[in-house]
C-alpha cells in the first residue's frame, strides 16, 4: 500500500474527527454558558 494513500486516509479521518470534536466542544460551551446565565 502506498504510504501516501495511508497518510491521506489518516489525514481525512483526523480532519473529520477534529471537526466533530470542535463541534461538540462548541455545544458543551453553549450549554455551560446557558447554565451559568441561569444560575446568575
Amino acid at each position: 500500500m502506498n504510504p501516501l494513500t495511508v497518510y491521506t486516509c489518516l489525514a481525512v479521518v483526523f480532519v473529520a474527527l477534529a471537526l466533530y470534536v470542535g463541534r461538540q466542544a462548541r455545544i458543551v460551551q453553549e450549554d455551560l454558558r446557558k447554565s451559568s446565565l441561569n444560575d446568575e
Binding site: 501516501l4 473529520a16 470534536v21 463541534r23 466542544a25 460551551q29 451559568s36
Partner: protein, 173 residues
C-alpha cells in the same frame, strides 16, 4: 514526473465519505461519551495537547510526502490537517477557559457557603450563650453567684465555679 495522485482518492472516495458522514452525524452514544469527556477540564487539556501534537505531525508528514513524492495532494492534505487542528484547538481552548471560569464560580460559592455556615453557628452559639470555636471555655449563661471572668480568652459570661488562671470580678463566696 508523477505530479498528481488523485486516483487513490477516487478509489477510496466512498469509504472516506462514509467515515466522514459517520463522524459528523450526531450519533447519540458517541456524542454522549465525547460530551462527558469534554465536561472535565483535565480531559479537555489532554485533548488539546493531543490536537496540537497531531497538527504538528500531520502538517510535517504532509510536507514530507509532498516534497518526497512531488505531490500537490500531500501538501494540500497537510494544510487541511493543520487548519482542522487549528479549528479544534481554538474551540477546545475556549471550552477550557469556560470550564475554568465555571469551576472558579463553583469553588467561590462553596467557600461562601462554608463561611455562611460558620457565621450562622457562631451567631447561634452567641445567642445560646455557649462558644463552639473555643472548647474548654464554655460558660453557663446564668450564674447564681454572679461571678464574671474578664480575662482575654473568655467571653465575659458568668462562671459557676472559679477556675485557675481566670481573673474574677467579685467574691466567689
Amino acid at each position: 514526473m508523477e505530479y498528481l495522485h488523485a486516483e487513490f482518492l477516487v478509489v477510496l472516495g466512498p469509504a472516506l465519505l462514509t467515515a466522514i458522514l459517520g463522524l459528523l452525524v450526531n450519533t447519540p452514544s458517541l456524542g454522549v461519551s465525547l460530551r462527558s469527556i469534554l465536561g472535565s477540564r483535565e480531559h479537555v487539556e489532554t485533548l488539546l495537547g493531543l490536537m496540537i501534537n497531531s497538527a504538528f505531525v500531520g502538517t510535517a508528514a504532509g510536507a514530507l510526502f509532498g516534497y518526497g513524492g512531488d505531490s500537490r495532494e500531500a501538501y494540500l492534505m497537510g494544510g487541511v490537517v493543520g487548519l482542522a487542528a487549528l479549528f479544534a484547538v481554538t474551540r477546545l481552548s475556549k471550552l477550557s477557559a469556560q470550564l475554568a471560569s465555571s469551576e472558579a464560580k463553583v469553588s467561590h460559592r462553596k467557600m461562601a457557603g462554608t463561611v455562611r455556615s460558620i457565621i450562622r453557628s457562631e451567631l447561634l452559639a452567641a445567642n445560646s450563650g455557649t462558644r463552639i470555636t473555643k472548647p474548654g471555655l464554655n460558660h453557663p449563661r446564668k450564674c447564681s453567684r454572679k461571678l464574671h471572668c474578664h480575662c482575654q480568652n473568655c467571653c465575659g459570661t458568668p462562671l459557676k465555679v472559679e477556675r485557675p488562671g481566670h481573673r474574677m470580678k467579685g467574691k466567689f463566696k
